[in-house]
Symmetry: C2
Subunit: 357 residues, 2 copies
């Protein structure tokens, strides 16, 4: 019986509150399915670590984390202590790049019992997945400033797209689409305005489409696509997007399903050459941190995605089912958190789901 070794990194803010709830649900599920999970906790990738050490990570972070089968991650960012671009490029964005987690998979589903801000939408109307490129594109670290501090100051930042980087995430997205009943892939572009990188993206989509004849492909410019997420979320099945566009769509999508608090994400290296990382879409949320009211569902759903990745699809489905069952009870029957219009706490909602498991 294999033991799956999991590195646990709570990070900052509500990351520290929702990770314990995620672990509790994972333990319950593992127990039920006879899966052995071994958790090791790390305090790096946090503002507190930064305050003590002046860096976000210890020098040996890479070999350390490489020993694990997966990383269960909370959230990072505490701008009062360390600017976001330093904390993020010093941790999460570093992990994604170093461990070549080139797919960021973000399911977006209107759950039973959750109220959508969109009028008249029911569970089933919104159920798609965003496949986000996760290592290159607009998130480059190339660029700089010239004539600094003068009236002529000019700042440049490169977007970088490579054939390898674009094709591999497109292939993953096409494969996902091919496996789903609708077989429908939407590509997010902006080739009318961003006239060098985005036409290239379109070209590669067209080339890949020829290999997947059964998949219906369409494309929307990102401005129009954002609008259609609100007007016609039922149109979408698999949405593939560059790093930045995927980032935007995978916050907007969950907002349309009621709250960012329930949305999970899987930062995957599909080749399994490196550990993958599972983190909720929401951030550290300094505005509500410390009050015990953060929604743990995103983190728990991450646990489900992690179980699936580790080769336990049944356990993953069971945990997701438990989440759905508890949400479906609604705010009067279940201890749902305030973002779900309830009065429950992080701990209470986490326990309700673990119990249900």
């Amino acid at each position: 019986m294999t033991t799956h070794r999991i590195a646990v990194i709570p990070g900052d803010g509500i990351g520290r509150e929702v990770v314990p709830a995620g672990l509790e649900a994972l333990r319950a599920t593992a127990g039920r399915f006879g899966i052995t999970l071994a958790f090791d906790h790390f305090d790096f990738a946090s503002a507190e670590y930064w305050q003590k050490h002046g860096t976000m990570l210890p020098p040996d972070w890479e070999p350390t984390l490489r020993q694990y089968d997966a990383i269960f991650f909370g959230a990072v960012g505490w701008p009062e202590v360390v600017p976001d671009h330093i904390s993020l490029w010093g941790s999460l964005l570093q992990f994604r790049r170093t461990f070549d987690q080139y797919v960021n998979l973000r399911p977006c589903r209107l759950m039973p019992g959750v109220r959508s801000p969109l009028a008249g939408r029911e569970p089933g109307d919104i159920d798609f997945v965003v496949v986000r490129e996760n290592t290159e594109g607009e998130y480059s670290s190339i660029g700089g400033r010239i004539f600094e501090g003068t009236e002529r100051e000019t700042v440049m930042q490169e977007t970088v797209m490579t054939r390898v980087g674009v094709d591999r995430v497109l292939r993953f997205a096409f494969e996902q689409a091919a496996r789903r009943p609708e077989q429908h892939l939407t590509s997010a572009t902006k080739s009318n305005g961003i006239s060098i990188s985005m036409p290239y993206w379109d070209e590669r989509v067209a080339a890949m489409a020829s290999e997947f004849a059964a998949v219906r492909v369409d494309k929307f410019h990102i401005d129009a696509l954002a609008a259609q997420f609100v007007l016609h979320p039922e149109w979408f099945d698999v949405v593939v997007a560059s790093n930045l566009f995927g980032d935007i769509l995978s916050d907007l999508g969950p907002a349309c399903t009621g709250t960012l608090g329930i949305a999970p994400s899987a930062n995957i290296n599909p080749d399994r050459a490196h550990p993958s990382l599972f983190e909720p879409v929401h951030g550290s949320a300094p505005d509500i941190a410390g009050r015990g009211i953060a929604n743990p569902v995103g983190q728990i759903w991450c646990g489900s995605m992690m179980l699936d990745h580790l080769g336990h699809p049944e356990a993953a489905a069971h945990l997701l089912g438990a989440i759905e069952d508890v949400l479906a009870l609604g705010p009067s029957e279940a201890p749902l958190t305030p973002d779900l219009h309830g009065k429950g706490t992080t701990v209470e909602l986490g326990e309700a789901i673990a119990t249900r498991v």
Copy 2:
């Protein structure tokens, strides 16, 4: 009595259908307020022109258009005939850059009689303006490809932000905010991920804020901001954004107010050294073009913004009032177009508004 000379460019698709409705409403308003408008029509900046001439514009387009006090523009883009990045960079984006229309002003308001896709939202809940940088940023033409056609193919595109370019649009936005009752400015950023250009944007916002002590300033990363447009549109008053982020937000905002069909935009050179351009936010809409059902309200509202820019605020307000009055009748009393849940045509709705004027 001055004559305002207006260059009219219908462009492609529904641009040709809504521009006549816009002109009719403008003529009616001008008549009522004793304003003299002289319109000259141009067929360039269209796919038809491209088919005839192999370019989007004639060689003397710049001195030609410079003679006008404003440009009344429909929409451009017909990808079956000419790729979007060629048609757009060969016309609209060229105009914005050459005429230094560095502010793109895009009001976003839930109108009486229009159904929002957001549950429970009433007119008054959504009423903000997006101030979009319009000449630089992510819409640069710098970049290219290397190792073309091989597995090593790499594509780069620069984002370019200048002190001059960022500061002038921020100043405009702060001035707008200072004049409005709420005095609230929201900056769209992504400085946690886009770690060179966006931290610079944040820095300039902070510097400018010190000159406008009365304006309450906050910032959101673009992913979270897109989510909040759906969850809390009532939070926003003036939103300032880079070229790309402004593009996205100014489609998403109008979607939250029911339809892109009513949204106008003003591409302004506030220094009045060059002609400004007024165009609806929607594009040429190949999917509904030729059917006579496009919503002319965005184009007519552009006419109102143009009158304001030409120094006729009363006439502008009157025309906007006429739009509101007709929309408020709702789809059963007024010939609203299908996107407004009615059965009216472009011509009918245009006439109803012109008559109301």
